[in-house]
């Protein structure tokens, strides 16, 4: 009690001191500290009041000037490490910027038009198909089956026609039939070739576009080039096959994709990947000519379906080639009953047995067209009914607010 002076402790005097701050009369340090500790108003920080903090004043006194060297605020702000990092970052940015801008300016074509819709634009961001394309390049696997199984009956018919033409072309040329699948399927040259059933199996009527030599040559594994390409671009072909399943079946594109790496002697894997990713995908999709298979099939003399497949060697070659082209596996049980191209085609175009009821119903289409019947893939639950009327979100929210389970039971 008697250590502090009565005057300094009274609130009244403090108020008087605070009110008299405008002319700033001198107050000793003890008075000032005690006054602030007693005041009920908020404590003001030094920068706002314009006061120089004690540490700064000490620094000034040590250096003997009002502007001492060193940091303005040695006890705040970023540390020395952060400062160095920031400097390095700024340096890097400064180094990177000029080439980037020049590249952009160089690649913008003159006929550039900004897109108004997102269709056809490159998709940026996310992983996309990166993992699919770059999955396990050290353990490549190339199966005999194409990655995509043909389901369109017209397309399958065209593939079978192609297989027939190629097999009989090999036979006509006197080549061994087991070379039918040695080369990966290339361009389909057989569109204009007519197959006519004859006593010796079938006779082929070639057109100007595709002669016997062309077809036989297309089937021969291109020893020098293809092997090199295969070694150089194995992973790329994998990637290609994985990405667009149609490519194997539209071989014009495949040939083009294989070309560019062939010019480079030994591209590294990453180079190939990048090349495959960047340059080749988009042009392919735009170039893909959609073949009207129905017209194509109609243009052939229907007698080609009567070509006999009784010769087991021919039957095997045709089945093998059609498997390679279509991806539809003929079960061993059916092999015996296949005697003509027609019977083989019937097996190829028959869709597999549906695994689910919905698939079976979709094939029938009788129920789907009924006005009073709806077919769903899954059971319609109470939640689905609420969703159709747009009530489920509210119910869900309310249930969550009350800590109640959404589907009838809580998982512990």
């Amino acid at each position: 009690m008697h250590r502090t002076r009565r005057v300094a402790r009274s609130i009244d005097s403090v108020g008087a001191i605070c009110g008299a701050q405008a002319p700033r009369p001198f107050l000793c340090h003890v008075c000032r500290v005690q006054a602030t500790s007693f005041s009920t108003s908020t404590v003001q920080s030094y920068p706002e009041t314009g006061k120089v903090p004690l540490s700064e004043r000490v620094r000034r006194r040590i250096w003997g000037t009002d502007q001492p060297p060193g940091q303005e605020d040695p006890y705040g702000g970023p540390g020395i490490l952060d400062q160095v990092k920031a400097q390095n970052k700024a340096k890097k940015l400064a180094e990177q910027k000029p080439p980037a801008t020049s590249a952009i300016s160089a690649t913008v074509p003159e006929d550039y038009e900004p897109a108004t819709t997102w269709e056809g634009l490159e998709r940026v961001g996310g992983y996309g198909n990166w993992w699919k394309e770059n999955w396990d390049p050290r353990h490549p696997f190339m199966g005999f089956l194409p990655p995509r199984i043909m389901t369109d009956p017209e397309e399958v018919t065209a593939a079978l026609h192609r297989a027939l033409v190629e097999v009989f072309a090999l036979k006509q040329a006197g080549e061994p039939l087991d070379g039918i699948s040695k080369a990966t399927p290339g361009a389909d040259l057989t569109h204009d070739v007519q197959v006519i059933a004859s006593d010796a199996g079938a006779s082929l009527v070639f057109s100007e576009n595709a002669t016997l030599e062309d077809i036989v040559l297309s089937l021969a594994p291109q020893v020098e080039e293809v092997i090199e390409e295969n070694h150089a671009t194995e992973s790329e072909q994998d990637i290609e096959a994985d990405r667009s399943t149609e490519d194997l079946l539209h071989p014009e594109k495949v040939e083009e994709t294989v070309e560019p790496p062939a010019h480079e002697p030994q591209p590294t894997e990453s180079e190939e990947d990048v090349a495959a990713d960047r340059s080749e995908e988009d042009p392919l999709e735009h170039q893909a000519p959609t073949i009207a298979y129905a017209e194509l099939v109609a243009s052939w003399d229907p007698s080609w379906l009567q070509v006999s497949l009784d010769d087991p060697e021919i039957k095997f070659a045709v089945i093998k080639r059609s498997l390679q082209l279509t991806g539809v596996r003929i079960s061993d049980t059916s092999i015996r009953s296949i005697t003509t191209a027609k019977s083989l085609l019937s097996h190829l175009v028959t869709p597999p047995k549906p695994r689910k009821l919905i698939e079976a119903l979709e094939q029938k289409e009788e129920f789907l067209n009924l006005p009073n019947v709806k077919v769903h893939a899954k059971r319609i639950t109470a939640i689905d009914k609420e969703k159709t009327v747009g009530r489920w979100k509210l119910i869900e929210e309310e249930l969550e607010n009350r800590g109640l389970p959404l589907t009838g039971y809580t998982r512990r």
Binding site: H139, F316, K320, D332, S337, S343
Partner: protein
């Protein structure tokens, strides 16, 4: 399991493709002496050639009763039969009378091994025994070939060239093969049967139980043949199975007995 066999070739072609209208598929009403099979190259599944097997091996009619008897026979034989309990004569302890016969106001008790006392023996408990049942060898052999025939008729018997193995001991590589050939989980899993142990294939499939199994031919039984979506079997393994299970066809079969 199917209740009746159906030949894929005899299926009603309700799919109407324009070219195929008015098609009459030739129906094989008689049983041919031999049936063709395709031999594939293993991981790529490239068809190599046709081979034919006798209809008595791969084209038998489905007999569910025989398959059932074979599976039960195998299941019985597989039972471990080691369950064991102690009778009152095997329980350890003194045979002293627990308490006097009379005068305690309680029930009479002889020894503490009595089955009515806690800690006592088990009256009619299990004891180790052999659960195996008997099945005529010819019936069992017929069941083997019936199972294979059922697979063949369903198109689920894929015969591969000898020397089945894969290039890398990698589960993800094996998975890739399974995915590419439509053998995996989405297609009902597959059983791969080889004639002997293959390091890469078996090692890769070790962690791939969700996609399929791989077994040496000696470990395969009828139930294994019926379980999964399809069987991918080495030709020598198939020949070995057929050789061992033909007692009803050939005059004399050498057995180990």
């Amino acid at each position: 399991m199917a209740t009746e066999t159906s030949l894929p070739s005899n299926e009603t072609q309700d799919y109407s493709h324009s070219i195929l209208r008015n098609t009459t598929t030739p129906v094989a009403e008689f049983t041919p002496p031999t049936v063709p099979t395709t031999i594939y190259k293993f991981p790529t599944m490239e068809p190599l050639r046709f081979e034919s097997y006798s209809s008595k091996y791969l084209y038998l009619p489905l007999r569910r009763d025989i398959l059932h008897r074979a599976v039960i026979f195998e299941g019985d034989a597989t039972r471990q039969g080691t369950a064991s309990t102690k009778t009152r004569y095997e329980v350890h302890g003194s045979h002293r009378k627990v308490r006097p016969q009379k005068g305690m106001g309680k029930a009479r008790l002889g020894t503490r091994q009595s089955p009515v006392i806690r800690g006592g023996g088990k009256s009619f408990g299990p004891h180790p025994r052999d659960f195996s049942t008997e099945l005529p060898r010819k019936v069992y052999d017929l069941a083997w070939r019936t199972a294979l025939s059922w697979r063949y008729r369903k198109g689920g018997l894929i015969i591969c060239e000898d020397g089945m193995d894969i290039d890398y001991l990698k589960a993800r590589y094996a998975k890739r093969i399974f995915d590419h050939n439509h053998w995996g989980n989405a297609y009902g899993r597959s059983l791969v049967v080889t004639n002997s142990y293959r390091k890469n294939l078996f090692g890769a499939m070790q962690d791939l139980g969700s996609e399929g199994r791989v077994q040496v031919v000696d470990d395969v039984d009828v139930k294994d043949l019926l379980e999964q979506g399809r069987i991918i079997i080495e030709k020598s393994a198939l020949d070995e199975i057929l050789r061992q299970h033909q007692s009803d066809l050939v005059a004399k079969v050498r057995t180990g007995v």
